[in-house]
C-alpha cells in the first residue's frame, strides 16, 4: 500500500541504558520531499537516523517506513525494505578491502542478476553523477574525505532507491564540493523522484536543499516546518541554532555550587 508519507514516526522514545536520548518524537516525511533533520551535537539526530534505519531499537513508539512498522517486523521484511533504501554514512563507510567500483557494485551483485556489462555501465553512470569517474579503481584509503562521501553517495543510489538517507553530507567538505553535493541531492529528488532524508548541522546547505526541516534539541522535537517557517520562528532554541548563539545555562546558584563541589559517587 502506498501512502503519502514515506516515513511516519510516532511517539518515539529512545534510551541508552538509563539515559533518555529521544522522547516523544513525531515526524512525517512525505514522499518525494527532502527532509532535513537538524540539531546541534547531542541533540539526538544521529540516534534518530539509526532508529529509522533499524540499527537501534527504540524503547517505545513506532516507525513506519513505506507503510511497514520497522520496529515490530520480521528480519526478513526489514531486509526486503532495506533493498529499497540507500544510506550514505558520514565517514563513507566504504569497504577498505575493495576498490571504489567494487564497493559501489556490491549491492547489485548481492541482490540482482544483472549482466556484467549492465553492472559496469550502471557503476560508471553513478560515479559520473558524483564526479568520481576517474577514481573508480582506487582503494578507499587513497581517497580524500570528500571523495569518500561522494563514493558513498554513489553506492547509496546504485539500486535507485525510493528513499535516500544522507548523514552529514557537507561536514568537513570545502564549500564548492559541498555546494555540488547539495545540487546533486536536489537533482536526485527531482529526476529520480527519491524521498531524501538528510541529517546535518550545516546551516548553509540546509536552506539550499530542504523542502521541510525538523529541528531537534536535547532529545525533543522543537519544530517541523518549511524553511520559511523555520526562519520566521520565534522559538528561542530555533533562533539560537540559526543565529549560532551559544547556549546559555541559567542555573540556580545553589545548584551550581552543589554541582561543582559534590563528592564523587
Amino acid at each position: 500500500m502506498e501512502t503519502a508519507n514515506a516515513i511516519e514516526i510516532r511517539d518515539l522514545d529512545v534510551d541508552y541504558g538509563s539515559r533518555r536520548i529521544l522522547s516523544d518524537i513525531n515526524i512525517d516525511i512525505r514522499q518525494g520531499e527532502i527532509m532535513v533533520i537538524m540539531g546541534g551535537s547531542g541533540s539526538g539526530k544521529s540516534t534518530l537516523l539509526r532508529c529509522i534505519l533499524g540499527l537501534k531499537k527504540p524503547s517505545a513508539g513506532h516507525i513506519y517506513m513505506l507503510g511497514t512498522d520497522i520496529c515490530h517486523t520480521s528480519n526478513k521484511k526489514l531486509y526486503g525494505l532495506r533493498e529499497q533504501i540507500g544510506v550514505a554514512f558520514q565517514g563513507g563507510a566504504l569497504f577498505t578491502s575493495m576498490t571504489v567500483a567494487e564497493n559501489i557494485q556490491l549491492p547489485l551483485r548481492e541482490h540482482t542478476n544483472l549482466d556484467e556489462n549492465t553492472i559496469q555501465i550502471m557503476t560508471r553512470i553513478k560515479l559520473d553523477m558524483v564526479n568520481m569517474l576517474p577514481y573508480e579503481n582506487l582503494m578507499p584509503s587513497e581517497l580524500s574525505g570528500g571523495m569518500k562521501k561522494r563514493a558513498a553517495l554513489a553506492r547509496a543510489i546504485i539500486m535507485d532507491p525510493k528513499l535516500l538517507f544522507f548523514d552529514e553530507p557537507s561536514a568537513g567538505l570545502d564549500p564548492i564540493t559541498s555546494a555540488e553535493l547539495d545540487e546533486l541531492i536536489v537533482m536526485l529528488k527531482e529526476s529520480m523522484k527519491m524521498t531524501i532524508v538528510v541529517v546535518t548541522h550545516e546551516l548553509e546547505s540546509v536552506f539550499a536543499i530542504a523542502d521541510r526541516i525538523a529541528i531537534l534539541g536535547e532529545g525533543q522535537l522543537v519544530q517541523v516546518g518549511t524553511p520559511e517557517e523555520i526562519k520566521s520562528s520565534t522559538d528561542e532554541r530555533v533562533t539560537g541554532l540559526l543565529n549560532r548563539t551559544p547556549r546559555k545555562n541559567n542555573v540556580d546558584k545553589d545548584v551550581h555550587i552543589e554541582r561543582l563541589t559534590r563528592d564523587k559517587e
Binding site: 539509526r50 532495506r82 533493498e83 563507510a93 549491492p107
Partner: protein, 262 residues
Amino acid sequence: MIKAISNLGSYAIETIEQIGRTFNLLLIIAWKMCLPPYQIFPIIKQIYFIGARSLTVIIISGATIGMVLGLQFYNTLERFGSVGVLGSAVALSIIRELGPVMTALMVVGRAGSAICAELGIMRITEQVDALECMAIPPDKYLVAPKLIAGIVSVPLLNFVFNVVAIGGGYFVGVIMLGVGEGSYVNGMIDSVVWGDVRLGMVKSIIFGMLITLICCAKGFYLHLSQYGSQGAEGVSRATTDAVVISSVSVLFFDFLIGALMS
C-alpha cells in the same frame, strides 16, 4: 566497598553477556550457512589469509619445536639408556599435544589478532552498519567465511606442523646425535595409533573454531563491549583481549578434550 562489589557484579554480567553473545553468534552463523547464497569465493580468500599466509610461521615454529623436543628427550632418555624410544616420544607429544596447541597459538597470534582488529575497525567506521543497510547480513557476509576458514585451515596447518616437527626431531636425533634411523622411524610407527591421530585432529578442529569464533566475536561485537566508544584504542584493547582469551581457551580446552577423550 559497595562500589567494589557493584564493579565486580557489572564485570561478571559483562563477561556472561559476552560468552552468551559469542555462542549466539556461532548458532546464528551455523543456521545462516545452511541458507543460500553460499559464499565460496570469500571462504577461499579467508583460507588463503588464515591458512596459506600462516604457513611460514607454522613451518618455522614446527621445525624449532621438533628440534627442541629431539634434543631434550635425547638428554632425558639417555640417562635411562633408552634413546631407542626417541622417535615415539617425539611423535606422540607432537601429535597428541604440541601440534594442535602450538598451531592454534600461532594462528591466534598471526591471524586471530588481525581478524579481530579488522572486524573491530569495520564496526567503528560504520562498515558493518552499511552492510546491514544494504540488506547484506553482516554476520553471514563477514564472520561466516572466517569461521569456516578457521575450521578448515587450522587442522591442515596442524598436519604441516606435525610433519615438520617430526622431521625436526629426526634431524636432531638421527643426524646430529646419532640415534639409529631404524629405531627412530620404526619406534614411531609402532607406538602411534589411530587414537592419537584422532585426538590431535579433534583438538585442532575444535581449536580452529574456538579461536576464530572468539576473535570474530570480540571484533564484531565491539560496539556492545565496554570499549565500544573508545575508537582506535577500543579496537586495540579488544584485540589484546581476543588474543589472551583465545590462547587461554585453547590451553583449557586442550586439557578438557584430553581428559574426555582418553
